[in-house]
Amino acid sequence: MTTMIQVENATKSFTMSYHRSLKQLALAKARGRKTHDVFNAVDDVSFTVQEGEAIGLMGLNGSGKSTLLKLVSGVMRPDAGSVLTRGRIAGLIATGAGFDPQLTGRDNLFLNAAILGMSRNETLRKFDEIVDFADLGKFLDTEVAYYSSGMKARLGFAVAINVDADIFIADEALAVGDRPFKRKCKKRMDEIVKSGVTMFYVSHAPGSVRNLCSRVLVLDHGKLAFDGDVEEGIAFLHYDDDDDEERGKASSDDGLGADI
Protein backbone atom coordinates (compact mmCIF):
# COMPACT_ATOMS: atom_id res chain seq x y z
CA MET A 1 0.00 0.00 0.00
CA THR A 2 1.22 3.45 -0.86
CA THR A 3 1.05 6.26 1.63
CA MET A 4 -0.96 9.05 0.07
CA ILE A 5 -1.10 11.60 2.85
CA GLN A 6 1.44 11.81 5.63
CA VAL A 7 0.82 14.37 8.33
CA GLU A 8 3.42 14.56 11.07
CA ASN A 9 2.99 16.79 14.12
CA ALA A 10 1.38 19.44 11.98
CA THR A 11 0.58 22.63 13.80
CA LYS A 12 -1.01 25.72 12.37
CA SER A 13 -1.35 28.76 14.57
CA PHE A 14 -3.30 31.90 13.86
CA THR A 15 -2.62 35.34 15.21
CA MET A 16 -5.63 37.32 16.25
CA SER A 17 -4.97 41.01 16.13
CA TYR A 18 -7.32 43.03 18.27
CA HIS A 19 -6.14 46.34 16.91
CA ARG A 20 -5.24 47.36 13.47
CA SER A 21 -4.39 51.03 13.42
CA LEU A 22 -1.36 52.57 15.02
CA LYS A 23 -3.45 54.64 17.40
CA GLN A 24 -5.41 51.68 18.69
CA LEU A 25 -2.22 49.72 19.09
CA ALA A 26 -0.53 52.47 21.07
CA LEU A 27 -3.57 52.91 23.30
CA ALA A 28 -3.77 49.19 24.00
CA LYS A 29 -0.07 49.04 24.79
CA ALA A 30 -0.34 52.02 27.12
CA ARG A 31 -3.25 50.49 28.98
CA GLY A 32 -1.42 47.20 29.24
CA ARG A 33 -3.97 45.28 27.24
CA LYS A 34 -3.15 42.40 24.97
CA THR A 35 -2.66 43.49 21.38
CA HIS A 36 -2.82 40.05 19.86
CA ASP A 37 -3.41 36.44 20.71
CA VAL A 38 -2.08 33.26 19.20
CA PHE A 39 -4.04 30.05 19.06
CA ASN A 40 -3.44 26.73 17.40
CA ALA A 41 -6.18 25.91 14.94
CA VAL A 42 -4.50 22.60 14.23
CA ASP A 43 -2.43 21.35 17.12
CA ASP A 44 0.21 18.64 16.74
CA VAL A 45 -1.83 16.39 14.47
CA SER A 46 -0.31 13.21 13.02
CA PHE A 47 -1.84 10.55 10.79
CA THR A 48 -1.20 8.76 7.55
CA VAL A 49 -3.64 7.82 4.84
CA GLN A 50 -3.05 4.85 2.57
CA GLU A 51 -4.09 4.56 -1.04
CA GLY A 52 -7.75 3.80 -1.49
CA GLU A 53 -8.83 4.81 1.99
CA ALA A 54 -11.84 7.07 2.36
CA ILE A 55 -11.39 9.29 5.39
CA GLY A 56 -14.23 11.16 7.00
CA LEU A 57 -13.01 14.19 8.91
CA MET A 58 -15.46 15.18 11.60
CA GLY A 59 -15.61 17.56 14.50
CA LEU A 60 -17.65 20.35 15.97
CA ASN A 61 -17.58 23.86 14.52
CA GLY A 62 -14.25 25.52 15.11
CA SER A 63 -12.44 22.27 15.78
CA GLY A 64 -9.96 22.90 12.96
CA LYS A 65 -11.42 20.75 10.19
CA SER A 66 -11.24 23.39 7.52
CA THR A 67 -7.74 24.39 8.51
CA LEU A 68 -6.56 20.78 8.37
CA LEU A 69 -8.21 20.46 4.99
CA LYS A 70 -6.39 23.55 3.79
CA LEU A 71 -3.11 22.10 5.02
CA VAL A 72 -3.75 18.90 3.08
CA SER A 73 -4.88 20.68 -0.07
CA GLY A 74 -1.86 22.99 0.08
CA VAL A 75 -3.65 26.29 0.52
CA MET A 76 -1.91 26.74 3.87
CA ARG A 77 1.42 25.53 5.07
CA PRO A 78 1.98 24.18 8.60
CA ASP A 79 3.95 26.37 11.01
CA ALA A 80 5.48 23.26 12.54
CA GLY A 81 5.61 19.64 11.50
CA SER A 82 4.99 18.50 7.97
CA VAL A 83 2.22 17.64 5.55
CA LEU A 84 3.22 15.52 2.57
CA THR A 85 1.04 14.18 -0.22
CA ARG A 86 1.41 12.13 -3.34
CA GLY A 87 -0.05 12.86 -6.75
CA ARG A 88 -2.65 15.37 -7.76
CA ILE A 89 -5.09 16.72 -5.24
CA ALA A 90 -8.46 17.94 -6.39
CA GLY A 91 -12.03 17.69 -5.40
CA LEU A 92 -14.97 19.62 -4.15
CA ILE A 93 -13.24 22.38 -2.30
CA ALA A 94 -14.54 25.86 -2.77
CA THR A 95 -16.24 24.98 -6.02
CA GLY A 96 -16.58 28.02 -8.20
CA ALA A 97 -13.88 29.98 -6.37
CA GLY A 98 -12.16 32.17 -8.89
CA PHE A 99 -15.14 32.57 -11.18
CA ASP A 100 -14.99 35.86 -13.01
CA PRO A 101 -18.59 37.11 -13.23
CA GLN A 102 -17.74 39.17 -16.31
CA LEU A 103 -16.84 36.12 -18.35
CA THR A 104 -19.10 33.55 -19.93
CA GLY A 105 -19.74 30.15 -18.43
CA ARG A 106 -17.56 28.58 -21.09
CA ASP A 107 -14.60 30.86 -20.34
CA ASN A 108 -15.02 30.30 -16.64
CA LEU A 109 -15.13 26.57 -17.19
CA PHE A 110 -11.72 26.64 -18.85
CA LEU A 111 -10.33 29.06 -16.27
CA ASN A 112 -11.59 27.02 -13.35
CA ALA A 113 -10.25 23.80 -14.84
CA ALA A 114 -6.86 25.44 -15.28
CA ILE A 115 -6.87 26.62 -11.68
CA LEU A 116 -7.60 23.06 -10.59
CA GLY A 117 -4.56 21.92 -12.52
CA MET A 118 -6.04 20.63 -15.76
CA SER A 119 -4.28 21.16 -19.06
CA ARG A 120 -6.03 22.41 -22.15
CA ASN A 121 -6.12 18.94 -23.68
CA GLU A 122 -7.58 17.46 -20.56
CA THR A 123 -10.24 20.15 -20.36
CA LEU A 124 -11.19 19.59 -23.98
CA ARG A 125 -11.42 15.87 -23.40
CA LYS A 126 -13.70 16.41 -20.40
CA PHE A 127 -15.59 19.34 -21.86
CA ASP A 128 -18.74 17.51 -22.93
CA GLU A 129 -18.93 15.61 -19.69
CA ILE A 130 -18.64 18.81 -17.65
CA VAL A 131 -21.18 20.70 -19.72
CA ASP A 132 -23.53 17.76 -19.54
CA PHE A 133 -23.15 17.53 -15.79
CA ALA A 134 -23.65 21.26 -15.22
CA ASP A 135 -26.74 21.16 -17.45
CA LEU A 136 -26.70 24.87 -18.22
CA GLY A 137 -28.20 24.55 -21.67
CA LYS A 138 -27.91 27.72 -23.71
CA PHE A 139 -26.66 29.68 -20.72
CA LEU A 140 -23.17 28.31 -21.25
CA ASP A 141 -22.28 31.33 -23.36
CA THR A 142 -23.85 33.86 -21.04
CA GLU A 143 -21.85 35.85 -18.51
CA VAL A 144 -21.75 34.16 -15.13
CA ALA A 145 -22.95 37.42 -13.55
CA TYR A 146 -26.42 36.61 -14.91
CA TYR A 147 -26.44 33.07 -13.53
CA SER A 148 -28.71 32.05 -10.70
CA SER A 149 -26.85 30.85 -7.63
CA GLY A 150 -27.85 27.30 -8.41
CA MET A 151 -26.44 27.52 -11.92
CA LYS A 152 -23.20 28.98 -10.66
CA ALA A 153 -22.87 26.24 -8.08
CA ARG A 154 -23.63 23.55 -10.64
CA LEU A 155 -20.97 24.79 -13.01
CA GLY A 156 -18.32 24.94 -10.27
CA PHE A 157 -19.34 21.53 -9.04
CA ALA A 158 -19.29 20.02 -12.50
CA VAL A 159 -15.75 21.19 -13.18
CA ALA A 160 -14.41 20.13 -9.79
CA ILE A 161 -15.91 16.68 -9.82
CA ASN A 162 -14.51 15.94 -13.26
CA VAL A 163 -10.88 16.56 -12.37
CA ASP A 164 -9.00 13.29 -12.20
CA ALA A 165 -7.41 13.29 -8.80
CA ASP A 166 -5.16 10.94 -6.90
CA ILE A 167 -6.46 12.40 -3.66
CA PHE A 168 -10.06 13.55 -3.77
CA ILE A 169 -10.99 16.16 -1.21
CA ALA A 170 -14.56 17.08 -0.47
CA ASP A 171 -15.68 19.78 1.86
CA GLU A 172 -19.16 20.04 3.32
CA ALA A 173 -21.71 22.34 1.77
CA LEU A 174 -22.39 19.95 -1.01
CA ALA A 175 -26.02 20.79 -0.60
CA VAL A 176 -26.11 22.66 -3.86
CA GLY A 177 -28.76 22.58 -6.47
CA ASP A 178 -32.09 20.88 -6.53
CA ARG A 179 -32.92 17.31 -5.76
CA PRO A 180 -32.16 15.79 -9.16
CA PHE A 181 -28.79 17.52 -9.19
CA LYS A 182 -28.02 16.25 -5.70
CA ARG A 183 -28.88 12.74 -6.82
CA LYS A 184 -26.50 13.11 -9.72
CA CYS A 185 -23.76 14.33 -7.40
CA LYS A 186 -24.27 11.50 -5.01
CA LYS A 187 -24.09 8.99 -7.83
CA ARG A 188 -20.89 10.58 -9.01
CA MET A 189 -19.36 10.58 -5.53
CA ASP A 190 -20.19 6.91 -5.12
CA GLU A 191 -18.49 6.18 -8.42
CA ILE A 192 -15.41 8.05 -7.29
CA VAL A 193 -15.23 6.11 -4.04
CA LYS A 194 -15.76 2.83 -5.86
CA SER A 195 -12.97 3.63 -8.29
CA GLY A 196 -10.65 3.30 -5.33
CA VAL A 197 -9.37 6.85 -5.22
CA THR A 198 -8.10 8.12 -1.89
CA MET A 199 -10.74 10.32 -0.37
CA PHE A 200 -10.68 12.99 2.29
CA TYR A 201 -14.18 14.07 3.20
CA VAL A 202 -15.22 16.71 5.71
CA SER A 203 -18.75 16.44 6.98
CA HIS A 204 -21.19 16.88 9.80
CA ALA A 205 -23.60 14.42 8.33
CA PRO A 206 -23.18 10.96 9.83
CA GLY A 207 -25.30 9.47 7.07
CA SER A 208 -23.03 10.47 4.23
CA VAL A 209 -19.90 9.65 6.23
CA ARG A 210 -21.25 6.14 6.83
CA ASN A 211 -22.04 5.93 3.19
CA LEU A 212 -18.73 7.04 1.78
CA CYS A 213 -16.00 6.56 4.34
CA SER A 214 -13.96 3.67 5.65
CA ARG A 215 -12.29 5.51 8.50
CA VAL A 216 -13.08 8.53 10.63
CA LEU A 217 -10.85 11.22 12.12
CA VAL A 218 -12.33 13.46 14.77
CA LEU A 219 -10.79 16.80 15.65
CA ASP A 220 -11.40 18.52 18.94
CA HIS A 221 -9.96 22.00 19.52
CA GLY A 222 -7.32 21.37 16.92
CA LYS A 223 -6.16 18.08 18.35
CA LEU A 224 -6.78 14.68 16.85
CA ALA A 225 -9.19 13.13 19.32
CA PHE A 226 -10.19 10.00 17.47
CA ASP A 227 -8.84 7.95 14.60
CA GLY A 228 -10.50 4.71 13.60
CA ASP A 229 -13.71 2.94 12.73
CA VAL A 230 -16.59 4.90 11.23
CA GLU A 231 -19.33 3.86 13.70
CA GLU A 232 -17.06 4.39 16.70
CA GLY A 233 -16.07 7.79 15.39
CA ILE A 234 -19.65 8.87 14.97
CA ALA A 235 -20.45 7.55 18.44
CA PHE A 236 -17.41 9.37 19.80
CA LEU A 237 -18.88 12.64 18.59
CA HIS A 238 -22.33 11.65 19.94
CA TYR A 239 -23.66 12.23 16.47
CA ASP A 240 -25.58 8.97 16.68
CA ASP A 241 -27.91 10.24 19.42
CA ASP A 242 -31.68 10.20 19.27
CA ASP A 243 -33.11 12.35 16.50
CA ASP A 244 -29.75 12.72 14.81
CA GLU A 245 -30.16 9.14 13.71
CA GLU A 246 -33.22 10.03 11.75
CA ARG A 247 -31.56 13.03 10.24
CA GLY A 248 -28.64 10.88 9.31
CA LYS A 249 -30.97 8.56 7.47
CA ALA A 250 -32.64 11.43 5.75
CA SER A 251 -29.36 12.80 4.58
CA SER A 252 -28.09 9.47 3.40
CA ASP A 253 -31.21 9.30 1.36
CA ASP A 254 -30.44 12.69 -0.10
CA GLY A 255 -26.82 11.92 -0.33
CA LEU A 256 -24.50 14.69 0.56
CA GLY A 257 -24.59 16.92 3.56
CA ALA A 258 -28.25 17.65 3.35
CA ASP A 259 -28.58 18.56 7.00
CA ILE A 260 -27.28 22.06 6.82
Binding site: M4, L103, A114, I115, S119
Partner: protein, 304 residues
Protein backbone atom coordinates in the same frame (compact mmCIF):
# COMPACT_ATOMS: atom_id res chain seq x y z
CA UNK B 1 2.14 9.37 -18.54
CA UNK B 2 1.91 5.76 -19.56
CA UNK B 3 -1.09 6.14 -21.81
CA UNK B 4 1.10 5.91 -24.88
CA UNK B 5 -1.22 8.14 -26.87
CA UNK B 6 0.39 11.03 -28.73
CA UNK B 7 -1.50 13.72 -26.84
CA UNK B 8 -0.36 13.99 -23.23
CA UNK B 9 -3.75 13.49 -21.66
CA UNK B 10 -3.67 12.87 -17.97
CA UNK B 11 -5.60 10.07 -16.33
CA UNK B 12 -5.91 8.96 -12.78
CA UNK B 13 -2.61 7.38 -11.84
CA UNK B 14 -2.37 3.61 -11.54
CA UNK B 15 -1.10 2.17 -8.23
CA UNK B 16 2.33 1.60 -9.78
CA UNK B 17 2.51 5.15 -11.02
CA UNK B 18 1.45 6.42 -7.63
CA UNK B 19 4.20 4.52 -5.93
CA UNK B 20 6.70 6.10 -8.25
CA UNK B 21 5.49 9.60 -7.37
CA UNK B 22 7.32 11.41 -4.59
CA UNK B 23 5.75 12.29 -1.26
CA UNK B 24 5.93 16.07 -1.35
CA UNK B 25 4.33 19.16 0.20
CA UNK B 26 0.93 19.52 -1.48
CA UNK B 27 1.48 22.80 -3.29
CA UNK B 28 4.60 23.77 -5.18
CA UNK B 29 5.44 27.48 -5.21
CA UNK B 30 7.94 29.86 -6.73
CA UNK B 31 8.46 31.58 -10.05
CA UNK B 32 9.60 28.31 -11.59
CA UNK B 33 6.20 26.84 -10.79
CA UNK B 34 4.58 29.82 -12.52
CA UNK B 35 6.54 28.98 -15.66
CA UNK B 36 5.59 25.31 -15.36
CA UNK B 37 1.92 26.19 -15.10
CA UNK B 38 2.01 28.70 -17.93
CA UNK B 39 -1.28 27.44 -19.29
CA UNK B 40 -3.01 28.74 -16.17
CA UNK B 41 -0.97 31.93 -16.40
CA UNK B 42 -2.13 32.41 -19.96
CA UNK B 43 -5.75 31.86 -18.95
CA UNK B 44 -5.48 34.39 -16.12
CA UNK B 45 -3.91 37.00 -18.37
CA UNK B 46 -6.37 36.41 -21.19
CA UNK B 47 -9.38 36.55 -18.97
CA UNK B 48 -8.24 39.70 -17.18
CA UNK B 49 -7.80 41.39 -20.55
CA UNK B 50 -11.12 40.10 -21.81
CA UNK B 51 -13.11 41.20 -18.81
CA UNK B 52 -11.80 44.74 -19.03
CA UNK B 53 -13.74 45.53 -22.19
CA UNK B 54 -16.65 43.23 -21.44
CA UNK B 55 -19.96 44.81 -22.36
CA UNK B 56 -18.47 47.53 -24.56
CA UNK B 57 -19.50 47.73 -28.19
CA UNK B 58 -16.08 48.81 -29.41
CA UNK B 59 -14.26 46.15 -27.40
CA UNK B 60 -10.48 46.13 -27.74
CA UNK B 61 -10.62 49.18 -30.03
CA UNK B 62 -10.80 51.17 -26.82
CA UNK B 63 -7.26 50.24 -25.95
CA UNK B 64 -6.17 52.02 -29.17
CA UNK B 65 -8.71 54.79 -29.01
CA UNK B 66 -7.84 56.01 -25.53
CA UNK B 67 -4.09 56.49 -26.06
CA UNK B 68 -4.70 57.88 -29.55
CA UNK B 69 -6.98 60.57 -28.19
CA UNK B 70 -4.49 61.30 -25.43
CA UNK B 71 -1.76 61.74 -28.01
CA UNK B 72 -3.87 64.08 -30.11
CA UNK B 73 -4.53 66.14 -27.03
CA UNK B 74 -0.84 66.45 -26.25
CA UNK B 75 -0.06 67.24 -29.82
CA UNK B 76 -2.58 70.02 -29.87
CA UNK B 77 -1.50 71.41 -26.52
CA UNK B 78 2.25 71.41 -26.97
CA UNK B 79 2.79 71.59 -30.69
CA UNK B 80 -0.06 73.88 -31.68
CA UNK B 81 -0.95 75.92 -28.62
CA UNK B 82 2.33 76.29 -26.74
CA UNK B 83 4.30 76.01 -29.95
CA UNK B 84 7.11 73.49 -30.15
CA UNK B 85 6.77 72.73 -26.44
CA UNK B 86 9.40 74.74 -24.61
CA UNK B 87 11.63 74.92 -27.62
CA UNK B 88 11.95 71.18 -28.06
CA UNK B 89 11.42 69.50 -31.35
CA UNK B 90 8.50 67.04 -31.40
CA UNK B 91 7.78 67.52 -27.76
CA UNK B 92 4.52 65.56 -28.06
CA UNK B 93 6.52 62.47 -29.05
CA UNK B 94 8.93 63.07 -26.18
CA UNK B 95 6.01 63.18 -23.79
CA UNK B 96 4.14 60.23 -25.25
CA UNK B 97 7.21 57.96 -25.41
CA UNK B 98 7.83 58.65 -21.74
CA UNK B 99 4.20 57.95 -20.97
CA UNK B 100 4.42 54.53 -22.58
CA UNK B 101 7.18 53.52 -20.17
CA UNK B 102 5.55 55.11 -17.16
CA UNK B 103 2.23 53.49 -17.98
CA UNK B 104 3.82 50.06 -18.27
CA UNK B 105 5.56 50.55 -14.94
CA UNK B 106 2.64 51.94 -12.97
CA UNK B 107 0.26 49.29 -14.20
CA UNK B 108 2.74 46.52 -13.36
CA UNK B 109 3.54 47.99 -9.97
CA UNK B 110 0.07 49.05 -8.84
CA UNK B 111 -1.62 46.04 -10.39
CA UNK B 112 0.92 43.71 -8.85
CA UNK B 113 0.51 45.34 -5.46
CA UNK B 114 -3.24 44.77 -5.51
CA UNK B 115 -3.07 41.37 -7.16
CA UNK B 116 -3.10 39.17 -4.05
CA UNK B 117 -5.77 41.16 -2.24
CA UNK B 118 -7.98 41.24 -5.32
CA UNK B 119 -7.74 37.50 -5.83
CA UNK B 120 -8.50 36.85 -2.19
CA UNK B 121 -11.37 34.47 -2.84
CA UNK B 122 -9.14 32.25 -4.93
CA UNK B 123 -6.03 32.36 -2.78
CA UNK B 124 -7.76 31.54 0.48
CA UNK B 125 -9.48 28.52 -0.99
CA UNK B 126 -7.41 26.88 -3.68
CA UNK B 127 -3.76 26.04 -3.97
CA UNK B 128 -2.21 28.06 -6.78
CA UNK B 129 1.35 29.37 -6.90
CA UNK B 130 0.74 32.86 -5.64
CA UNK B 131 3.58 34.42 -7.61
CA UNK B 132 1.21 33.81 -10.50
CA UNK B 133 -0.81 36.94 -9.73
CA UNK B 134 1.90 39.64 -9.79
CA UNK B 135 3.40 37.99 -12.89
CA UNK B 136 0.00 37.93 -14.59
CA UNK B 137 -0.47 41.62 -13.84
CA UNK B 138 2.88 42.39 -15.41
CA UNK B 139 1.85 40.56 -18.58
CA UNK B 140 -1.53 42.29 -18.61
CA UNK B 141 0.28 45.63 -18.30
CA UNK B 142 2.52 44.68 -21.21
CA UNK B 143 -0.54 43.80 -23.27
CA UNK B 144 -2.10 47.17 -22.57
CA UNK B 145 1.13 48.95 -23.38
CA UNK B 146 1.25 47.40 -26.82
CA UNK B 147 -1.46 49.62 -28.42
CA UNK B 148 0.37 52.68 -27.09
CA UNK B 149 3.51 51.42 -28.79
CA UNK B 150 1.63 50.98 -32.06
CA UNK B 151 0.46 54.58 -31.91
CA UNK B 152 3.92 55.79 -30.98
CA UNK B 153 5.50 53.98 -33.93
CA UNK B 154 2.79 55.21 -36.27
CA UNK B 155 3.34 58.84 -35.29
CA UNK B 156 7.11 58.48 -35.41
CA UNK B 157 6.97 57.05 -38.92
CA UNK B 158 4.78 59.95 -40.00
CA UNK B 159 7.43 62.31 -38.65
CA UNK B 160 10.11 60.63 -40.73
CA UNK B 161 11.54 58.30 -38.11
CA UNK B 162 13.28 55.14 -39.32
CA UNK B 163 14.28 52.39 -36.91
CA UNK B 164 17.97 51.98 -36.19
CA UNK B 165 19.54 48.99 -34.45
CA UNK B 166 21.03 50.94 -31.56
CA UNK B 167 17.76 52.74 -30.93
CA UNK B 168 15.73 49.51 -30.95
CA UNK B 169 18.21 47.91 -28.55
CA UNK B 170 17.82 50.92 -26.27
CA UNK B 171 14.03 50.70 -26.27
CA UNK B 172 14.09 46.94 -25.67
CA UNK B 173 16.53 47.35 -22.81
CA UNK B 174 14.26 50.01 -21.37
CA UNK B 175 11.25 47.70 -21.45
CA UNK B 176 13.21 44.84 -19.95
CA UNK B 177 14.40 47.09 -17.14
CA UNK B 178 10.87 48.30 -16.40
CA UNK B 179 9.43 44.78 -16.56
CA UNK B 180 11.97 43.41 -14.09
CA UNK B 181 11.77 46.41 -11.81
CA UNK B 182 7.97 46.40 -11.83
CA UNK B 183 7.85 42.67 -11.17
CA UNK B 184 10.31 42.86 -8.29
CA UNK B 185 8.40 45.72 -6.69
CA UNK B 186 5.08 44.06 -7.48
CA UNK B 187 6.13 40.86 -5.73
CA UNK B 188 7.32 42.64 -2.60
CA UNK B 189 4.41 45.06 -2.39
CA UNK B 190 1.75 42.47 -3.16
CA UNK B 191 2.73 40.40 -0.16
CA UNK B 192 3.38 43.44 2.04
CA UNK B 193 -0.04 44.78 1.12
CA UNK B 194 -1.63 41.66 2.56
CA UNK B 195 -0.15 42.37 5.97
CA UNK B 196 -0.63 46.11 5.90
CA UNK B 197 -2.95 47.70 3.37
CA UNK B 198 -0.88 50.86 3.79
CA UNK B 199 1.51 49.48 1.21
CA UNK B 200 -1.12 49.88 -1.47
CA UNK B 201 -1.26 53.57 -0.68
CA UNK B 202 2.53 53.78 -0.63
CA UNK B 203 2.61 52.22 -4.09
CA UNK B 204 0.09 54.74 -5.40
CA UNK B 205 2.10 57.63 -3.98
CA UNK B 206 5.33 56.28 -5.41
CA UNK B 207 3.83 55.99 -8.88
CA UNK B 208 2.79 59.63 -8.70
CA UNK B 209 6.40 60.52 -8.08
CA UNK B 210 7.46 58.48 -11.06
CA UNK B 211 5.46 60.67 -13.44
CA UNK B 212 7.42 63.71 -12.39
CA UNK B 213 10.81 62.14 -11.79
CA UNK B 214 11.40 61.04 -15.36
CA UNK B 215 12.40 63.10 -18.40
CA UNK B 216 9.00 63.07 -20.03
CA UNK B 217 7.28 66.42 -19.39
CA UNK B 218 10.68 68.10 -19.49
CA UNK B 219 13.97 67.19 -21.18
CA UNK B 220 16.82 65.74 -19.18
CA UNK B 221 18.84 68.85 -20.01
CA UNK B 222 16.47 70.89 -17.87
CA UNK B 223 17.62 69.00 -14.77
CA UNK B 224 21.20 69.72 -15.65
CA UNK B 225 20.53 73.37 -16.38
CA UNK B 226 18.54 74.04 -13.23
CA UNK B 227 20.38 71.94 -10.68
CA UNK B 228 23.73 71.07 -12.28
CA UNK B 229 25.99 68.45 -10.75
CA UNK B 230 25.80 66.46 -8.52
CA UNK B 231 21.98 66.51 -8.55
CA UNK B 232 21.82 65.64 -12.24
CA UNK B 233 23.89 62.49 -11.58
CA UNK B 234 21.68 61.54 -8.65
CA UNK B 235 18.70 62.01 -10.91
CA UNK B 236 20.14 59.37 -13.22
CA UNK B 237 20.24 56.80 -10.42
CA UNK B 238 16.48 56.54 -10.81
CA UNK B 239 15.95 53.42 -12.94
CA UNK B 240 12.70 54.84 -14.31
CA UNK B 241 14.51 57.95 -15.55
CA UNK B 242 17.00 55.64 -17.23
CA UNK B 243 14.24 53.57 -18.84
CA UNK B 244 12.53 56.68 -20.18
CA UNK B 245 15.82 58.01 -21.55
CA UNK B 246 16.29 54.67 -23.30
CA UNK B 247 12.92 54.88 -25.02
CA UNK B 248 13.62 58.52 -25.96
CA UNK B 249 16.76 57.25 -27.64
CA UNK B 250 14.71 54.58 -29.40
CA UNK B 251 12.00 56.85 -30.78
CA UNK B 252 12.01 60.51 -30.00
CA UNK B 253 15.58 61.41 -31.03
CA UNK B 254 15.00 59.66 -34.36
CA UNK B 255 12.09 61.98 -35.18
CA UNK B 256 14.08 65.17 -34.80
CA UNK B 257 15.74 66.85 -37.76
CA UNK B 258 19.25 66.02 -36.56
CA UNK B 259 19.16 62.89 -34.37
CA UNK B 260 22.90 62.90 -33.59
CA UNK B 261 22.73 66.46 -32.39
CA UNK B 262 19.61 65.78 -30.28
CA UNK B 263 21.23 62.74 -28.72
CA UNK B 264 24.35 64.64 -27.81
CA UNK B 265 22.30 67.50 -26.40
CA UNK B 266 19.47 65.77 -24.54
CA UNK B 267 20.79 62.35 -23.54
CA UNK B 268 23.46 61.71 -20.90
CA UNK B 269 26.58 59.70 -21.68
CA UNK B 270 26.90 56.02 -20.74
CA UNK B 271 23.24 55.50 -21.55
CA UNK B 272 23.71 51.85 -22.49
CA UNK B 273 26.17 50.85 -19.77
CA UNK B 274 23.95 52.40 -17.17
CA UNK B 275 20.92 50.64 -18.63
CA UNK B 276 22.63 47.25 -18.65
CA UNK B 277 23.87 47.58 -15.10
CA UNK B 278 20.44 48.64 -13.87
CA UNK B 279 18.76 45.77 -15.69
CA UNK B 280 21.14 43.32 -14.04
CA UNK B 281 20.44 44.89 -10.65
CA UNK B 282 16.71 44.63 -11.36
CA UNK B 283 17.18 40.95 -12.19
CA UNK B 284 18.89 40.39 -8.86
CA UNK B 285 16.03 42.37 -7.36
CA UNK B 286 13.51 39.90 -8.80
CA UNK B 287 15.42 36.98 -7.28
CA UNK B 288 15.56 38.68 -3.88
CA UNK B 289 11.91 39.71 -4.13
CA UNK B 290 10.95 36.11 -4.85
CA UNK B 291 12.91 34.98 -1.77
CA UNK B 292 11.12 37.48 0.41
CA UNK B 293 7.82 36.57 -1.18
CA UNK B 294 8.16 32.87 -0.43
CA UNK B 295 9.14 33.62 3.15
CA UNK B 296 6.11 35.79 3.82
CA UNK B 297 3.69 33.95 1.58
CA UNK B 298 3.06 31.10 4.04
CA UNK B 299 1.05 33.52 6.18
CA UNK B 300 -0.87 35.08 3.30
CA UNK B 301 -4.07 32.97 3.22
CA UNK B 302 -4.90 33.58 6.85
CA UNK B 303 -4.18 37.30 6.68
CA UNK B 304 -6.30 38.00 3.64
Amino acid sequence: MTTGSPSPVRRRSTPEELEALPLVPPAATGLAEVVRRRYLLRMLVRNTIQSRYQGTVLGWTWSYLQPAIRFCLFYFLFQVMVGRGAGMENFAVHLFAGMVMVHFFTETFNGGTQSLVQNRSLITKLAVPREMFPVARMLVAAWHTFPMMVILVFVCVLLGWRPDAAGMAAALLGFLLVALLGLALGLVFSVANVFMRDFGKVAQTLTQFVTFSVPMMYPYTLVQDRFGEPIASYYLFNPMAEAVLLIQRGFWTGTTSDPTYTQALHLPGDLYTRGLVMTLIALVGVVLAQRLFSRLEAKVPERL
